[in-house]
């Protein structure tokens, strides 16, 4: 494992916006427990603006840190603004992630998009978006040999 920087550690040790939300306006669940990464995002939306956001994450330190940071980054933003958030933005806000952890930031981006999609469906009276636990585990393939085991 490459080492995490201070910001990542900070976000992991004291994450913001943790926990379930009662009666959310939208919920997105992405990732795959097989891959060791599941992220669930809850939204409360007022006037097209994300008034509150929560996450629940099953995953490594980077997954938790990116969940916290991504939710912080979109809190108070409009839906349109939130949809512009990319995994790169999240990784940058965290001062960078080890290469093999980049996929975690992708998960945060996707989680927020899924929650927004769910919010929109609900508004249109469609049934809520089901959790997507069958996602293909997407990740940067580490360069040969970057992966070492004791």
């Amino acid at each position: 494992m490459s080492m995490y920087n201070e910001k990542v550690i900070q976000a992991f040790m004291s994450p913001k916006n943790v926990g379930a939300m009662e009666n959310p306006d939208g919920v997105g669940e992405v990732g795959n427990p097989r891959c060791g990464d599941v992220m669930k995002i809850y939204l409360r939306v007022r006037d097209d603006r994300i008034e509150d956001i929560r996450f629940e994450t099953f995953g490594c330190a980077a997954a938790i840190a990116t969940s916290s940071t991504a939710t912080e980054m979109v809190k108070g933003r409009t839906i349109e603004e939130a949809l512009k958030l990319t995994n790169r933005d999240v990784a940058e806000a965290l001062g960078g992630l080890p290469p093999e952890k980049i996929h975690c930031s992708l998960l945060a981006e996707e989680g927020i998009r899924a929650a927004i999609e769910d919010y929109r469906r609900r508004r249109q009276g469609l049934p809520p978006l089901p959790p997507r636990h069958d996602a293909v585990c997407h990740h940067e393939i580490p360069e040969t040999g970057e992966e070492t085991r004791e």
Binding site: M1, S2, V18, P33, G36, K40, F58, A61, P142
Partner: protein, 388 residues
């Protein structure tokens, strides 16, 4: 904050008494043991003594011990060495699904080089079934390699039974005893194994030196060619200080085993296992309850992921490990846990706590205080289950 190292399966510290014995061999007794002059001769004597000490730990003869550059190299040497030397006789090799990569990847490499490979499954406690093993043997089988004890889940294999089958069928038997050597009594006069791997750094010796026991009469080909050191089977100027350290570590281990310190370790281990199982819900012990390394406790903590736990423990001063995917940069959880039939999500929550000779009851109690709130906290974040 007292920091508590609980990762002795990964590596151990060099015991100060071992380091003391090594020290003269860096800047004072620095001769090349292959040299004729006095500088060389004094070092040759020290290597001979270390070889005798390691041999004694196994009840082997000094001539049966080869020093290598580590446990992985010794595993590779054993497997490739037998394969090269016996390829005329047969090209089938048997191993288990939960071997260390140093064995598994070597056997797979043989598979690409024209050998047939059988990888045996294990039961839910990580043990190879003796019937499976017997059934896998073919007329062209030349070698079986099954580890003495597993590094991730601590399970000890039925090595005697497997070895006896090999004897009966006339095939060579190698066991990777990197986790067991120095921690369990091993006697190669009594145990039907032909080759056995050890690593000094798992038994309070230095890193970078391993040993392979090769039973008298068993012929293997070398992996590293050159000056013909180590009876022609591992060329290269000897790692004098490392070898001397291995010798000292072997003596220390023999004393610890003779003094019954294993029992002390086992009691602390059980205190830890019982404590974790009773204080945390939805936890399972991985590996066998009793047929396991005396210093080894391993679990799967459901609904949370291993690396996150490790880092929280680390910040609380406790060094632990996990077969978790994330520690290796791969997304697959431990192949060992999967081979034991665990589902992926559970396997991702693996936690290994391995005790050392200096672990105290207070250390165990500290861990038992520290771990539950960390688990609770991470579970509170988990979409799967809360308020554990």
């Amino acid at each position: 904050m007292r920091r508590i190292y609980m990762d002795h399966s990964a590596t151990t510290c060099v015991d100060p008494s071992v380091l003391q014995k090594m020290l003269p061999f860096f800047s004072e007794k620095y001769g090349n043991p292959n040299s004729v002059h006095a500088w060389g001769r004094e070092v040759r004597t020290a290597i001979d003594e270390a070889r005798a000490s390691v041999a004694r730990l196994l009840n082997a003869e000094p001539r049966e011990i080869l020093f290598t550059g580590g446990g992985s190299e010794a595993d590779n040497l054993a497997i490739k060495g037998v394969a090269e030397s016996l390829s005329g006789k047969g090209r089938h090799v048997i191993t288990s699904a939960i071997e260390h990569h140093a064995v598994l990847d070597t056997v797979k490499w043989l598979g690409k080089a024209g050998f047939d490979v059988t990888v045996l499954p294990v039961d839910s406690e990580g043990r190879v079934r003796v019937e499976d093993f017997r059934a896998a043997i073919r007329p062209d089988t030349i070698l079986a390699t099954v580890m003495y004890a597993n590094n991730e889940v601590g399970t000890v294999q039925p090595i005697r039974e497997l070895g006896e089958i090999c004897r009966e069928k006339g095939i060579l038997f190698h066991t990777d005893a990197v986790q067991a050597a120095g921690h369990l009594p091993l006697d190669v006069r009594d145990l039907p194994v032909d080759l056995l791997t050890m690593a000094a750094h798992k038994m309070y010796g230095p890193k970078g030196v391993g040993a392979l026991y090769v039973r008298k009469g068993v012929r293997i080909a070398p992996l590293v060619h050159g000056g013909g050191q180590e009876f022609g089977l591992r060329s290269g100027t000897e790692n004098t200080a490392g070898i001397v350290g291995f010798g000292a570590a072997a003596e220390l281990a023999a004393r610890r085993i003779a003094n019954g310190e294993i029992d002390k370790e086992r009691r602390l281990r059980d205190r830890l296992i019982d404590g974790v199982l009773s204080r945390i819900e939805d936890v399972l012990l991985t590996g066998h309850r009793t047929e396991r390394l005396p210093f080894h406790a391993s679990f799967c903590i459901r609904y949370i992921e291993g690396e996150a736990m490790l880092l929280r423990l680390d910040f609380a001063g406790i060094g632990a490990s996990s077969g978790s995917a994330c520690t290796s940069g791969s997304l697959e959880p431990s192949y060992v846990l999967l081979a034991m039939g665990l589902d992926h999500a559970t396997a991702h929550g693996s936690l290994r706590l391995t005790l050392g000779k200096d672990t105290t009851e207070e250390d165990i109690d500290t861990i038992l205080e520290t771990l539950p709130p960390i688990v609770g906290n991470l579970r509170a974040m988990s979409p799967f289950k809360k308020n554990a």
